[in-house]
């Protein structure tokens, strides 16, 4: 049961990563920097 649950979660998370990459999450993550940068400084 333990191995089954582990394998299930592993597949789920792997699928989430693959799907996220396929819809452009990687580039969305990369592009958020401009806003975050200024926000971190507290000037935006």
């Amino acid at each position: 049961m333990r191995i089954f649950l582990f394998a299930l979660f592993f597949i789920l998370f792997g699928a989430a990563i693959a799907y996220g990459l396929s819809i452009g999450d990687f580039w969305e993550t990369l592009s958020n920097g401009a806003m975050i940068c200024l926000t971190c400084i507290g000037v935006a």
Partner: protein, 299 residues
């Protein structure tokens, strides 16, 4: 010592864009699409990757589900739980270092540790969703320390990248004061940010129960109890393994809980040990006994 070395490697792995220093800029290349498994601000001049908490807020703001981010954090947590907190996070390491000052040792009530889930759901989740602004990033002390203050320095040196930044705002003043409060807290409380405020720690902590890496105690074979000639009924008052916990946990009761950062400090004292779920236990050199009354077996 081994953990300190890995923490240093973790610091370098996440913050080694040294080219940012002479240029007084920050890395904006492709690696910024990678979320590092620690609290490390995107805006830190030397940072290679993105902060997962900032990224999570960004996805909430743009109303997109963060499949890639949660899948990555989930996969890491599935294998090692909250291990990155204890071995990789630069801000966690800072807290370990500052706590060496040890002005005092204050213990807060146990319920305060639930505040990090309020921060995760409330500040990182709900507030970002409602206001369309990453409010956790605005006050994050790791961001202030790793990015806010360096950018203030760059601005004072005339960096073109900092044009338009205003460091006289009330928000920035609040950030610096909050960082100062956190640094002071680090001198009197063990890892206060990790225990009470860190939303990433809260997320990883949820995976502790079902991760492949597990920490356990086996009170029946505690060498400390054996050496003291007791039947471990003195566990509650012994505290030998708990004394070295950077999260101030009562190790026999709370090892493996959401607050355990898997630093492995306790495995060098008494009965705590670590294992991977599908393999037998491993215990590095701590004498263990097979049953009461027999000689300890060093494994």
């Amino acid at each position: 010592m081994k953990r300190r070395i890995v923490q240093f490697i973790g610091l370098l792995a996440t913050n080694s864009y040294f080219a940012a220093l002479p240029k007084m800029s920050f890395y904006q290349g492709t690696l910024k699409g990678v979320c590092v498994p620690v609290l490390n601000c995107y805006a830190c001049p030397m940072a290679w990757g993105s902060c997962p908490v900032g990224t999570l807020q960004h996805f909430l703001i743009v109303r997109a589900f963060p499949f890639y981010l949660l899948g990555t954090l989930g996969a890491i947590g599935l294998f090692i739980g909250r291990w990155p907190c204890g071995w990789l996070c630069p801000f966690g390491w800072l807290q370990d270092i500052v706590n060496k000052v040890k002005l005092r040792n204050i213990k807060l009530p146990d319920w305060v540790r639930h505040m990090k889930f309020v921060v995760l759901v409330g500040l990182v989740g709900v507030v970002a969703w409602v206001t369309f602004e990453p409010w956790f990033c605005k006050i994050c002390p790791a961001g202030t320390f790793g990015a806010g203050l360096p950018w203030l320095f760059f601005h004072s040196r005339g960096s073109v990248w900092s044009e338009g930044m205003d460091f006289t705002t009330g928000m920035f003043t609040f950030k610096v004061i909050f960082l100062a409060v956190c640094l002071l807290a680090m001198m009197v409380i063990k890892r206060p940010f990790c225990r009470f405020l860190c939303p990433l720690g809260a997320l990883f902590g949820l995976t502790n129960k079902f991760s492949l890496l597990q920490l356990n105690v086996d009170l029946d074979s505690c060498a400390i109890a054996y050496a003291k000639g007791s039947d471990f009924t003195n566990c509650a008052t012994c505290n030998h393994c708990s004394r070295h916990c950077p999260m101030d946990l009562k190790v026999p009761e709370q090892i493996g809980s959401v607050d355990c950062i898997r630093c492995m400090n306790c495995t060098s004292y008494g009965s705590p040990n670590w294992s991977f779920r599908f393999k037998r236990e491993q215990n590095f050199g701590v004498p263990r006994i097979e049953k009461e009354g027999t000689e300890p077996v060093v494994m």
